[in-house]
């Protein structure tokens, strides 16, 4: 770990001032950035601790929720409104990490966690364009079982590891940002970038930007939502694939549907193609599989992850089967 300064601002204005300084980074629960610093993947000159800034979960006028960025993951998953109106979010959070990590991790920090690609983590011995642009990517020809099949580029095939973010993508969350460019909001789906030829940039945030809140708009059928995660052991592993979904039935047809996948792409993957294929159609296992096939039509599989489109299709069909009929498809 490279030596650094530590500062604990007392309010948002002070935090933004400190965070705007060159080389500064914000510190939430520290469950990811401290690891990155230990591995010298992040070498901030100063950590600005925003974990103690006021953090509340408040209902908005329209029936949504405004979640302060410093809210701990556990607190968000336990919140009664989240549990009743957005169960997909509560389940996604609880599917991630361990109880100890969730107690520390903040909402803002979870959103900004970095990939678990093992070549990214091996600063001494491996090449990685995300870590060192232009260096090359050892994952493409190496161990890539956990890697992405959608939205990748020749430069990078890493996945975004968050569970919570998959639910946020499905829920059309809105990101509230403050920083040197002033206050602004953006759709959650616009926050994370695809790698293209700049895989080192995970998000569109500018230096000094701070996520101050995540807003959940009201979702009429949010109560009919769930999250399913498939991984290599029963707990405490990152998703091989995960599905966040919410469904509203219109008679025996699908009225509306939200779907996002985790573990398949460099960002939480909102499955707009699959949603469009399903909307207004029958809630049959065949329709679910066809929708998944459409979503993964452009999948680029690697040596070790060719199972992902199949697994995603099966898992999506099971999740939608449960949400539309109460039974697994």
């Amino acid at each position: 770990m490279t030596p650094f300064d530590y500062a604990r601002p007392t309010d948002l204005a002070e935090a933004l001032r400190m965070g705007a300084a060159a080389g500064a980074a914000y510190l939430g629960g520290g469950t990811n950035i401290v690891d990155l610093m230990r591995e010298r993947l992040a070498q901030p000159s100063a950590l600005v601790d925003v974990s103690t800034l006021p953090a509340t979960i408040a209902e908005t006028d329209g029936g949504g929720l405004m979640i302060g960025a410093a809210v701990r993951n556990t607190a968000l998953a336990e919140h009664p409104v989240v549990r009743s109106r957005y169960p997909v979010l509560a389940r996604a959070i609880l599917a991630g990490a361990s109880a100890q990590i969730r107690n520390m991790a903040t909402v803002g920090g979870n959103v900004l966690q970095r990939t678990r690609c093992t070549y990214f983590y091996d600063a001494e011995g491996s090449s990685c364009n995300k870590r060192a642009p232009g260096q090359g990517c050892d994952a493409v020809g190496g161990f890539n079982r956990i890697h992405a099949v959608l939205g990748t580029s020749d430069a990078c095939v890493a996945t975004h590891p968050s569970d919570m973010c998959v639910a946020l993508a499905a829920l059309d969350a809105i990101v509230h940002i403050d920083g040197p460019l002033g206050q602004r909001t953006m759709p959650f789906g616009d926050l994370h970038r695809l790698p293209g030829d700049q895989p080192d940039r995970d998000t569109v945030l500018a230096p000094g930007d701070l996520i101050v809140a995540i807003e959940l708009p009201p979702l009429r059928f949010g109560a009919s939502s769930t999250y399913r995660k498939v991984r290599d052991r029963a707990s405490y592993a990152f998703a091989l694939i995960s599905v966040a979904a919410a469904v509203e039935m219109d008679g025996d047809r699908i009225g509306d549907v939200r779907i996002a996948f985790g573990g398949v792409a460099p960002k939480p993957w909102r499955a707009l193609t699959a949603e469009a294929a399903l909307r207004g159609g029958p809630a049959t296992a065949q329709a679910f599989r066809d929708a998944a096939a459409a979503e993964f039509a452009d999948a680029r599989v690697l040596r070790d992850n060719s199972f992902k489109p199949v697994l995603a299709s099966r898992t999506l069909a099971a999740v939608l089967g449960t949400l539309t009929t109460g039974e697994a498809a």
């Binding site: 678990r116 091996d122 011995g125 498939v230 052991r233 029963a234 707990s235 099966r314 898992t315 099971a318």
Partner: protein, 780 residues
Amino acid sequence: MSIVDSAKQAAQGLVMGALQKLVPLAPDSWIPGGKPDPLIARKHGLIGKPVSRLDGTLKVTGAAPFAAEFRFDTMVYASLAYSTIARGRIVAIDTQAAESAPGVVLVMTHRNAPRMATPPVFGTSVHAIGPADLPIFQDDRIHWNGQPIACVLAETQEQADHAAALLDISYAPEPSITDLAAAKAKGLEQGLFMGQPLRNSIGDAEGALANAEYRVDQRYRTPRHNHNPIEPHAATLAWEGDTLILHDASQMVTQQAQSMADVFGLKTEQVRLTSPYVGGGFGSKGLWDHQVIAAAASRLAGRPVRIALSREGVYRTVGGRALTEQRVAIGARADGTFEALIHTGLSVITPHNNMPEPFILGTRSAYAAPNLLLQVEIARMNMLANTFMRAPGEAVGTFALESAIDELAVDLGLDPVELRIRNEPEKDPTSGLTFSSRHIVKAWRDGATRFGWDERPAVPGARTEGEWQIGMGCATGTYPYYRMPGAEARITLLRDGDNVRAKVEVAAAEMGMGTSTTTAIVAAERLGLPIDWIEVGYGDSAIPGAIMAGGSQQTAAIGGAVIAAHGELVAALLKLAGNDSPLAGLSANEVGSDEGGLAKLDDPSRRESYASILTRARRDSVSVTKAGSMPLEFMHWSMHSHSALFCEVRVNQVTGEVRVSRFLGSFDCGRILNPKTATSQFRGGIIMGLGMALMEETQFDERNGRIMNPSLAEYHIPVHLDVPEIDVIWTDIPDPHTPMGAHGIGEIGITGVAAAVANAIYNATGKRIRDLPITLDRLL
């Protein structure tokens, strides 16, 4: 391996070979264990009662000092830098930035390290435990990707880690073999284990297989595994003049101290190594580069050093289990009896060590078959020296063998338990020796009843619950009884008023399995004293003898040494007792210990207490040291432990996820000394086996030989939610030819487990997976 080292191993192999020819012919009475240990007959004492660990309170309160918790004044902290190429030379190391970083005391590389001898490689002498015959920090050669090549000492760990990252190292890479196909293409060699070839051939196995009515002939693969004890490897050490004081995490205390003495050209007594507590070893807590580097840097800097490897450091520095590719072929008659059994294949080692994963060891004594062919060949790769890992050989060998037997049972339409019992041998199929104690059929019958084996679906895929397919599988586990030479015990009786306390010292290691507690139990029974009056000394190179916590032999080694020392003690006490004692005139073999003193064996009314003898002799104490008998018993009898394992799994039809829902281990391991710690040992081994079955795999990148998942986040072992209730039972039938009637049980738990899981998965799904780990994508 140098020629000298290879010759030494071969010489040892010749001696072993000669002994193995002569010892079977000797009368039983000449062999240790020929006359049963009198403790076997003692039914109502502490042996067999559940006793909590005597060090339990110390451990849960944090008061037990582990290697990285000892302190010395002016101590500094070490951090290592590791190579990033598999083979070649170090061209330059720019140390300037590191040397000028805050807190840095020393940067040591091959250029300024003191001259040191190469640690003698394992097996070349009784004390030799070096992982490979490679010099440490003596030249610019790189032998594996991850080799330690520089050491930074600083005032804090953080300063040392930071400075190590500032080293700028350039290499001249040379051609390397890090690809298995390339290694195989260079040719295979016959594997040697403890100097003897891993090959047995009886009859014409291939011919009998070809002519057999029923045949299975399959290939099985197991991956590399890394060691992940909860305590990463660490040592805290200091030079006091020319004496090295070393607090290490060791499962071979004396050998480790001697090896350090050899490296630094010291006399044996110039290295004092203690290791009172070890946070798990599993074969890995021996001598690796880090202790040598830390001691050299300490000498150079003139400061005591603590070296605590990071988890990544353990993966780079400490070897693991090598991969295997195995063929198992069985030819059988319609009634299931075997005509031929073939178990062959390959493993990998380095150019500088000699530890082929000996996966045929368990097969040698497993089943009756008139025609047998067993062989391990090796390919060599440029990698960190592989090493012992819980049940080396049997852990992965039983996966292949016991999977193949399940496949044959399916073909024959026979119950796999019944098939195994039908092939139960009357004597050892390869050595021809009589079994000392083999009650595997009872273990099978007891286990099957308790598990409810008769509820197993006869047809695969027959039982489902929602998305889940449910199946049952079984397998045999096996591990030999060993007792290594070199063990000694020192027993000291100390008079304390009218009472007498005993101190029993053995140079053994306690890795958390309960050895110190079990040793106290056995000593209390052997000496006829309450356990509260027994103190056990261990984990200290100053104690005479050498006992390794390896090969599941430590309990027997301690037991044998304590038997010998107790005999010596009785003789010494009789001498002190003199002519005024009720015991006067008796010889040592007519007398035993009983209720705080000595008594005539066949007339306990002739007795005298220890206190009385010492008082009359005006002695406060008496102390004896004696080595255990030559361990010949396992060359005279075929001595093995066994388990019958039953597993129930649930396999998700949608995702391929596997959940083990029930597990039962039914063990035949001689007499169980402490049911409480034994249960933990069995369960721990089974849990490790579940990990091997379903998730453990070292990601060794064949392009450059680099381990890509050196962390517990990416190298998966079971978490609590992966582990079901594990039921453990045992036959508790003493082996008449071992100390206390016991067998060591440290390793048997892992054996057979992966096959039991794989066979249950077949029963659930109809899918036969022959490559470990059985990850969900293999079941989609």
